[in-house]
Symmetry: C2
């Protein structure tokens, strides 16, 4: 491909809405173009990258015995009704009506379609196990698309679904798939990806892992234990804090705290650390707007995933109206008005986070405007209370696995996930098979996803310098980038032409910049395109019968090589770079 | 792939809703599964076929210098507003709102997205010409999906868009693309596809061709001239009839025709051929419901495409209410009530088809219940009338190209189309470039489409027998199908295993049926899967050290070959079959 003919533009300025490097580089390098919020068109360089990623994923899925299929993008709503997700999933599931008024959805995941495809086929035990997968466009109507390809609304995804007749078989396949994922991430150039225990969320099921690339650009928080290697998504991580049982004999007494509403203000006013505050966080159920109050230690945050899982339904942060009977800023566990006192409709569900267990000498709201209590002793003042794990894990906390303290929290991008779904979908959708004894049973499912565009962006996050991406050779849009400086010089131009032809004939993927532009423009464009090997042809080199070879990742280390050695050197360099993208 | 492990079921009975063979075979052979009206999931055999078709198309598009990109499936409605198509296109464009209430559409074609992608890039003349293409899921909310993959709502399509600075350049590229299409159809195994002149419809532009596979299963009508080779879609074909100028001096006079409403009834009642009837066909404009009356010869049918093009807006068959002032069944050109007589809102537009030019001695409605006229002489009774070409061409008619009579009309499936769009989109969407003289100009566009699934179904229509598809080797899901009869016989089974391993290692695509099923089931499944080469391993063959080789298209001509000759024979046979899929 000649760069002079390739569509797309490259530019210097980072667009103002880019908060992560991959977003900026992919726009600046002409990889993609913004079409609408969270929706992009893909230009040739990114198309070539995603094609290669898809090729690697296909090989690994096929090696697991996966069978490639294709599910529809637009699905009948009735299928999602069967599984119960039409109701259960929020507005991220895009629902619409077709011209005949039939309810439809845009597929954001295809468990229902997978069950629909094989439900009749897999009616006998001898047809198990099997796995089907597709690489297809999905749509997820995200509230807040961000960071370019990292969180979009429309995306290409590989999603796989396996079916099993026993938990042992599912476990074994799940492990094989986990290893296949490790191979995939190693092959695309990010072997450092970690698998972490995760929350199953709307997918249902029991066991799940996310594959995380640790990077400050990530939007997920990962809890890591430096001692035992425990790792989990924040959503799924248990919060265990070092507790020093202390018992003060201070009495519960009211304090006038005019206009003191935030934890920070209260700490300042009372001269107490936030750990000594019993704070209230209020939510409302999505279903009926009823109130859910959680008390926890003032320095901690609620893990909404845990709260949702505990409740078994969706919630949102509360809007505290007068009707609620709650005194915003002054809510506390003692003397909380009963629902029927304030309003016959107000109903509270109250939960206590285990960070409060055994605590005393706490400050808390007095459920009265401008008043707080001090001297709260949980055991004494709130007896018969059950404590739940509802707080986010914090750095320095205790590892749920080895019980050592000192966990850390890092940011990460989720580049893939795998779930054991159990019988959630097969049960709901009446998929059954006859087992060896003629008994009808429900098969177990696993599902396995990788977002292709997000993976490309993640590789860019993991592998770039200040000038642009440094693509691993396994997914680079081209392998070799020829820069022809002074293409107006006929001899230089024809040497570059010959190189381009030669390497092309040998099967290398070559991008050839023969534009009459300055060396500055040419090199900064090459940096943005991130091709692993650069060959520079220039008047000086040409006269010396040489070509300059450099690697994108180490531009300072360029070497002059005689023209006749270009082919063996390129061949050898690519072989070496490929070796780095090989899984162990 | 072992057939025992492949998902999908094969069955004998043709589903009752299948009106064409490809639909029946693709369901019966486990190629696809119905999900919703016009929406299917694709199973492994069809996925493999479409992958190969896509590979062939990519090669031909790349050979034209095409650059592969990817446009979004879900597009902002604002983009279609820019081109004017948000209003102009009917309910087949699926419109919906996202969670923020923004208007969106599901892409059914991507002219707008293509212009959006390159509008800034191609601002200078030196960037032209270029062509971009994608292979992507589209959605078209068809009123009447039918015939399986032939008319669906969701489909995968290759759509390409070229951009030019002169009509000559567009013409030249258009011709190259036409030839590339001929190569594509030849390579997938249907070289008999014809390019025919077509109507540009909602795409706009001046010149367009459709690529037609002539088959009774088709839903398009193609007008063909056996003399000069003229061919056109019925929608675009001029209707020229042999006219014998005849002049009768019969006077216009009323006839009482009680309850005679149809042309057939009138012909019987008056004992006249339908050619001597001046029939009225009434439409209403989509926009305001106003009336459009077309008079034409009684034996002809309206070509609605021509009428729509003449009007420049959409129409639908009229619902004749009292308000219209029209006497259904008795409408004629003489004494048609003026709009304001019947109702102040009724407005008529009246057209005359040129089949009526110079005709006399006609019968027609008298615009009065139960009365017709006879003796209508167009020149005398309807003077000052302009005639238009509004009728469908009929077999035996005159060729618009060579003027010989005897055109024929055949059914065909449209497997591809190409359009010269001119500046329709670039003008509407303000895409401009600076030419050599510094003048701002609008580039010209061409667009080029092929539906992948429909093409697969079309090959099946063109190439099948009563038992199933006969796939050309270039797109067959596998090249070789091994049938292991009596797989319970250990020696037979191990011979088949060895063959499977051997051919697989040599790079052949092999489907291996090692199921413990009867020869009948095995062979009928093989017929449904349509793999070009079949190798049958059986106890008798195995004892003789032989394998039976047959071609799917000629099962009677099987030959026994020694096991050690299988590899060279298969290699040679595939080479020969491949040669048949080579364009001239």
């Amino acid at each position: 491909m000649k760069l002079s003919e390739m569509i797309g533009e490259r530019f210097r300025e980072t667009p103002s809405d880019c908060v992560v490097e991959s977003h900026a580089f992919m726009l600046r390098g002409g990889y993609m173009k913004y079409v609408a919020n969270g929706i992009y068109s893909v230009l040739p360089p990114l198309k070539r990258i995603t094609d290669k990623i898809e090729g690697i994923i296909r090989e690994e899925m096929d090696a697991l015995g996966g069978q490639e299929v294709l599910f529809p993008v637009a699905l009948p709503a009735s299928l999602w009704e069967e599984s119960g997700r039409l109701q259960a999933v929020g507005p991220e599931l895009l629902r619409f009506k077709d011209r005949n008024g039939s309810g439809m959805v845009l597929g954001m995941t295809h468990e229902e379609a997978a069950v629909h495809m094989v439900r009749e086929y897999a009616s006998g035990h001898s047809r198990y196990p099997f796995m089907i997968y597709q690489i297809q466009t999905k749509f997820r109507d995200e509230a807040r698309p961000r960071a370019g390809m990292i969180r979009v609304r429309e995306f290409t995804m590989k999603d796989a679904y396996s079916f099993h007749t026993s938990q042992e078989d599912l476990d074994a396949f799940y492990r094989r798939c986990l290893h296949a994922y490790e191979r995939i991430f190693a092959r695309v150039g990010i072997p450092q990806v970690l698998s972490v225990a995760s929350d199953s969320g709307m997918m249902g099921g029991s066991l799940s892992h996310e594959f995380m690339l640790l990077t400050p650009a990530g939007e997920d928080s990962i809890v890591l234990c430096p001692h035992c290697g425990y790792r989990a998504n924040m959503e799924a991580a248990e919060c265990i804090l070092p507790t020093v049982p202390e018992r003060t004999e201070q009495e519960l007494s009211g304090v006038h705290t005019p206009d003191i509403r935030t934890i920070q203000e209260l700490c300042g006013f009372l001269n107490m650390p936030s750990q000594k505050i019993c704070k209230a966080v209020v939510y409302q159920r999505d279903r009926d707007g009823s109130w859910v109050i959680v008390f926890l230690r003032g320095d901690l945050e609620i893990n909404e995933t845990k709260l949702t899982n505990l409740l078994g339904e969706g919630i949102h942060p509360a809007l505290l109206t007068e009707e609620s009977g709650l005194q915003a800023g002054f809510i506390g566990p003692c003397g909380l008005p009963a629902g029927d006192l304030a309003s016959p409709n107000a109903k509270y569900t109250v939960f206590y986070d285990r960070s409060l267990r055994g605590a005393s000498g706490l400050a808390c709201g007095a459920n009265r405007k401008d008043f707080h209590f001090v001297g709260l002793c949980m055991e004494r003042d709130c007896p018969d209370v059950r404590y739940h794990d509802l707080a986010k894990a914090v750095p320095g906390g205790i590892c749920p696995s080895c019980r050592e303290s000192g966990i850390t929290v890092s940011r990460g991008i989720e580049v893939g996930n795998i779930f054991q779904l159990g019988t959630k979908y097969t049960h709901a959708m009446h998929m059954q098979y006859v087992d060896e004894n003629g008994v009808l049973k429900e098969p177990l499912m696993g599902c396995y996803g990788i977002g292709i565009g997000r993976l490309a962006a993640s590789v860019c996050e993991a592998s770039h310098d200040e000038y642009g991406p440094v693509w691993p050779v396994s997914i680079a849009p081209w392998q070799v980038h020829i820069c022809c400086l002074r293409s107006d010089n006929e001899q230089v131009h024809s040497q570059a032409d010959r190189l381009y032809d030669l390497l092309g004939k040998e099967g290398f993927e070559v991008l050839y910049d023969d534009r009459p532009v300055s060396a500055g423009v040419m090199f900064s464009d090459a940096d943005l395109l991130g091709v692993p090997i650069r060959l520079t042809v220039s008047p000086r080199n040409q006269k010396a019968g040489c070509v300059e070879l450099s690697l994108r990742r180490d531009k300072s280390g360029s070497v002059k090589i005689p023209v006749e050695e270009v082919l063996p050197r390129v061949t050898e360099t690519i072989r070496r770079l490929r070796g780095e993208c090989r899984p162990d």
